[in-house]
């Protein structure tokens, strides 16, 4: 759609990945703990360019004008900045807030940075092959496609269930005239941005 613009934004986080190399040491200890994450131990390690980009992006999400964003926007910002955290990880980072807190609690950029850093330090390790393998399970015919309807059901009932709007946006233009989805192409498409 707009590859030029996309390339501009997601890039910084990618650059960030090699950067935090010295940092991960303290952070990876945290994930196995089910309790809320101790963010005080996370060392923020982004360079100046990144910080600028992040701040700009962060600003885009501020709808009130107090230079803060709501808890329920955090996941979106992290994703916009190229990360792929699960919902569970995000709630964990936020200290398992209540639904009320999610909507009303706000955090400023300085508070947001260690959270982002934490996610950057423990990225989603699943690979293209993993996804393809996972979707192959639903490939009844063994011809490289799955039924779009089945994919919808899988995504809306398993794991971290997705809602209809999310799925509609995701599946847009993916189904062929028979309602089948070529899942390798699908995964590539999802991973392209």
């Amino acid at each position: 759609m707009a590859p030029k613009k996309d390339a501009k934004k997601p890039e910084p986080p990618k650059k960030a990945e090699p950067a935090p190399a010295p940092a991960p040491a303290p952070a990876p200890e945290a994930p196995p703990k089910p309790a809320a994450v101790d963010l005080s131990g996370v060392k923020v390690d982004f360079n100046q360019d990144q910080l600028e980009d992040y701040r700009e992006a962060f600003g885009l999400f501020d709808r009130v004008g107090d230079s803060k964003v709501a808890y329920n926007q955090i996941a979106d910002i992290m994703r916009a900045l190229g990360q792929n955290p699960t919902n569970k990880e995000v709630t964990k980072i936020l200290g398992n807030p209540t639904a009320d807190e999610m909507a009303n609690k706000r955090v400023d950029f300085e508070g947001f940075l260690p959270m982002l850093q934490f996610v950057v330090n423990s990225p989603n390790k699943a690979t293209y092959d993993d996804y393809v393998e996972g979707l192959r399970v639903f490939d009844k015919e063994g011809n490289g496609t799955v039924m779009g309807a089945e994919l919808r059901i899988v995504l809306s009932t398993l794991g971290e269930k997705m809602n209809e709007t999310e799925i509609d946006a995701l599946m847009q233009g993916q189904e062929d005239e028979n309602g089948c989805v070529n899942y390798e192409a699908f995964v590539k498409h999802i991973m392209s941005v």
Binding site: R79, K88, N124, D130, Y131, F138, V154, G159
Partner: protein
């Protein structure tokens, strides 16, 4: 078809795909025993030592012992067609699977070698012609489970391997044995006669096929009754042997029956009925036939205890007609049919004979002999002789005949025994006739397919001799099954090249069978019973005492401890412990009929009655005995008195069973297990405990127990790989790899205990439960991947939304910039000047435009002038032409007038011509006349001249 499909095929919805699995794997679902449902699902919460805390569906927490828990199968196995494929093989899972399938309308399910069928108690559209076609020639795994699939396989095996086949249907009363047997025959009648090329039409099935199908209504009319459990309960076992020639045609059939329960003739419970034929006859026989049969009202017959009990959806009079028609098809003639009904009427009438004990005397008397007279009339015997034979029969004592008066009890007993024996003889006579009709083709059968329809294992409150016989039979049949299974399993392992020593579980049953049938050293139950029958003073109690003494140490024998009664003993059958009550076993084992009556009947004035009783006088040798008296009693004692041979009911039964087993052993058996879902004859209801009990009795659970000893779950390599590759994705290199190699790598990668699996040549074998574990791992892995994928997808969506937001921002910035630029421009002098000057710039160009337009006008005018001139010219020419035309028109008119004139002249002339012609005609006529006249005159003249000459 679609309507039908739901009764055969599983709806393959998404539930089976993995969505439902999430629940199973996260909740650790298991089965725990339940009062009401047999087993209920629960999820494990906590495990401590031997105790487990589980949470029920309703949220209640319960602590159960670890031993009580049975593992639940992953949802993948929901409603599987073959329960042997279940990875957790246990009672709970088997029950659950059968129940779930039953609720979905799927009544047939395989369990390894068994085909289990639950009585649907309603008509299902799965026996149509279309379905028959669907199953024709299909392999078992290609089509959903069905009795047709079992039959077709047996039939094809028979044709291809030239091996005789048998289909063994067992189950409780009301479980559907007879119905399924009928379906087998129906299927064969269609499939096996279509070889002639007369396919697609049921009506075209041959005469023999028709007779085969019609034999059933007759047997049912005479051998079935309504019981509490079953409106059409077969009160006998049967083995139908259908013979086929080399090309697969039916060439004949033979039916053997076992243990007809003749006691139904004389008493039934309140809502039960005696044999159908009595009701058909009393309702259906009309007018002359009714008189001839001396029939009375239902209420008059003492043997029909509850009068006319109706069967739902069945009209007895219509059934009577149908039965008679079926008899006609099978070649019974009028006389025979009446004879048969007379016997039935006699049996009923016998119940009305009443005896009284004489005062001060032991002897019985018959004050009113109306009923006896009717009996004798129907049977063609002398009433005085008959009364004597009952009241004061003669016995041989030490070589001399002695008359002995009977007590009332003895006389009553004799009458009941006679009624039973008479009915039994009739039944066997009918059977013999049916067999004769079915065996009339001369062609030699090449192989046969036998269908056994016999009662399954019985454990009642009170178990008598009949139960021992039935249970003994079932022990033997179960042994056959275990043995067959053992052979097949061994073959499979051998075929797959797997080293495994399978134990022959057929041997498990041997001790119990020996306990019953062993002739001596030490003698078994039947032999001991026979022995006791020899002793004049023996009683049922003495028999049990003897039994206890002989077998006290036998592992399958015991005495119930808490029972005071001495006539009880217990046998440990494979299906469970059964307490037998030996009361009146001695009489049951012997024939209670006295010779006086039988002799009388065999000398009846009716040829039919004689025929029925004729073998009484014959010397009955070993051979004929086994042939004619499959299950019964009358013949043996007759021979005993004559020849001193002692043949008991038990002995005969053992013999006929032995023969049956020999036959079955030489066939390839197919097992059908019928299950009654509830005792209320209700559709869609499963009484869990009742079903479990049957599964235990009919050997399904036993079969599963055997399965568990080996590696019951087998998956072909590519299936294994397809389903579980996700667990070991990295173990298999990209590109092609053959299934076995890949599976081997995978299983190694999974780090399974080598004792839990075996790798064969085409399949991988697993011990029970291993697959459940793999399923669980697969689920967890799958859920992980899905969650990661969802995170990735959410990232994708967020980034897209974000980039849109950014683009919007950029666009906004551009607009803002343009506005700002415009605002500064607006007040710039040069710009203002420009905007003022801009309209003036156009004036100079107006002249130029004018000239151009004028030129255009000129051109247009010229063209107009030219056109005008042309128009004038053409108008002129037009006028000229019009004038010319007018002139010509005038000329034409002139000519026309001239023409009219001359036409007038012509017409006038023609009229004149006609007038003249008429005149001419007239003149011509006159001329003719004149000529004629002149001729006449001439003639006259000539005559006159002649006269003149003569003169």
């Amino acid at each position: 078809m679609s309507v039908v499909n739901e009764f055969l095929f599983l709806d393959n919805d998404f539930k089976n795909s993995g969505v439902a699995q999430a629940d199973w794997s996260t909740k650790k679902m298991v089965w725990i025993p339940s009062e009401r449902e047999g087993f209920q699902s629960a999820s494990i919460k906590e495990e401590t030592g031997n105790e487990v805390v589980v949470e029920l569906d309703n949220g209640k927490k319960v602590t159960v012992s670890k031993d009580e828990i049975q593992k639940m199968n992953p949802p993948k196995y929901n409603k599987v067609e073959d329960m042997a494929a279940l990875t957790c093989l246990n009672e709970a899972s088997v029950l659950h699977n059968i129940r779930e399938r039953y609720f979905s309308g799927l009544i047939y399910t395989y369990s390894g070698l068994f085909c289990v069928v639950v009585n649907p108690y309603k008509l299902l559209p799965i026996y149509s012609e279309k379905i028959t076609e669907m199953y024709k020639g299909k392999k078992r795994h290609e089509v959903p489970p069905h009795i047709y699939a079992v039959t077709d396989n047996a039939y094809r095996n028979m044709l291809q391997e030239r091996e005789d086949q048998s289909i063994l249907c067992t189950g409780e009363s009301g479980a559907g044995k007879t119905e399924n047997t009928k379906k087998v025959i129906q299927y064969l009648a269609v499939v096996a006669s279509s070889h002639k090329g007369k396919r697609h039409h049921y009506s075209l099935t041959g005469e023999l096929e028709k007779q085969l199908l019609q034999a059933n209504p007759i047997l049912e009319a005479f051998g079935n009754a309504k019981t509490i459990k079953n409106d059409n309960s077969s009160r006998f076992g049967k083995f139908i042997q259908i013979n086929f020639d080399n090309t697969g045609y039916i060439v004949g059939a033979n039916i053997e029956t076992y243990l007809l329960e003749t006691s139904w003739c004389i008493r039934q419970a309140k809502i039960e009925r005696s044999f159908h034929i009595f009701y058909y006859m009393v309702t259906g026989a009309k007018d002359k036939m009714r008189d001839e049969l001396l029939l009375e009202d239902f209420s008059n017959y003492r043997f029909l205890v509850a009068g006319h009990v109706q069967v739902q959806n069945q009209q007895d009079d219509e059934m009577f007609e149908e039965t008679l028609e079926a008899m006609e098809v099978l070649g019974f003639n009028e006389e025979e049919r009446i004879g048969m009904l007379k016997v039935c009427s006699t049996v009923l009438q016998l119940g009305n004979i009443e005896f009284k004990a004489e005062k001060n005397q032991e002897q019985a008397s018959m004050p009113d002999n109306t009923a006896a007279q009717k009996v004798c009339h129907l049977q063609g015997i002398n009433v005085t002789d008959f009364t004597k034979a009952i009241l004061t029969p003669r016995f041989k004592v030490g070589g001399e005949l002695v008359q002995k008066a009977q007590t009332k009890e003895q006389a009553d007993f004799a009458i009941e025994a006679l009624a039973k024996a008479m009915y039994d003889r009739l039944f066997r006579w009918i059977l013999a006739c049916v067999n004769k009709a079915l065996d009339k083709t001369k062609r030699q059968g090449a192989s046969f397919l036998g269908i056994l329809d016999i009662a399954g294992f019985e454990i009642f409150e009170d178990n008598s001799f009949e139960q021992l016989c039935i249970n003994y039979t079932n022990e033997k049949l179960q042994q056959l099954f275990n043995h067959t299974m053992f052979i097949l399993e061994q073959e499979e392992y051998k075929k797959e090249g797997i080293e495994w020593n399978f134990i022959d579980f057929g041997l498990d049953l041997q001790p119990c069978i020996e306990l019953i049938e062993r002739p001596n050293n030490p003698p078994g139950i039947l032999a001991l019973l026979d022995e006791e029958c020899w002793f004049p003073k023996a009683t049922d109690v003495s028999f049990v005492e003897k039994l206890t003494n002989t077998h006290s140490s036998h592992c399958k024998f015991s005495k119930p401890k808490n029972l005071k009664e001495k006539a009880f003993f217990t046998v440990q059958h494979y299906a469970g412990k059964v307490d037998y009550n030996a009361t009146s076993w001695l009489t049951k084992n012997m024939d209670p009929l006295n010779d006086n009556v039988t002799a009388l009947l065999s000398n009846s004035s009716s040829a039919f009655v004689q025929d029925i009783w004729k073998d009484v006088d014959r010397v009955v040798g070993l051979e004929t005995m086994a042939k004619m008296a499959k299950s019964d009693s009358a013949a043996p004692t007759a021979s005993k008195s004559k020849k001193g041979m002692f043949r008991t009911v038990g002995q005969l039964y053992k013999e006929s069973l032995g023969k049956l087993m020999t036959t079955l052993h030489n066939t390839q058996p197919n097992f059908v297990r019928c299950i009654i879902p509830n005792h209320e004859k209700r559709a869609g209801k499963i009484d869990a405990h009742l079903v479990l009990e049957q599964l235990r009795c009919n050997g399904v659970l036993e079969g599963i127990r055997i399965c568990r000893q080996g590696f019951p779950n087998r998956i072909v390599f590519h299936e294994f790989r397809q389903r579980y590759e996700i667990l070991a994705a990295r173990a298999i290199p990209k590109g092609f790899m053959d299934g076995k190699q890949a599976s081997t790598l995978m299983i190694k990668h999974l780090d399974s205990d080598p004792n839990l699996y075996r790798i064969g040549l085409s399949k991988i074998f697993f011990r029970t439960g291993v697959l459940a574990q793999l399923e669980e791992e697969r689920d967890l892995k799958l859920t992980d991947i899905i969650i990661a994928f969802q995170a990735q997808a959410r990232g994708f969506l967020s980034r897209k939304a974000f980039s849109k937001k950014q683009k919007q921002l950029t666009a906004m910035k551009v607009i803002q910039k343009n506005c700002a630029v415009y605002l500064t421009l607006k007040n710039w002098q040069w710009w203002r000047l420009f905007t003022k000057v801009k309209p003036l710039l156009q004036v100079t160009r107006q002249d130029e435009e004018m000239n151009q337009k004028e030129e255009e006008l000129h051109k247009a005018k010229e063209i107009a002038q030219k056109s005008e001139a042309e128009l004038k010219e053409i108008t002129q020419k037009h006028n000229q032409v019009v004038e010319e035309r007018n002139q010509l028109q005038a000329k034409l008119q002139e000519e026309a007038e001239l023409y009219a004139e001359s036409e007038e002249v012509r017409i006038r002339l023609e009229a004149k011509k006609q007038e003249l012609e008429e005149v001419l005609h007239e003149i011509e006529a006159r001329l003719e006349e004149e000529e004629e006249r002149s001729q006449v005159f001439q003639q006259e003249k000539a005559n006159l001249q002649q006269q003149l000459k003569v003169e």
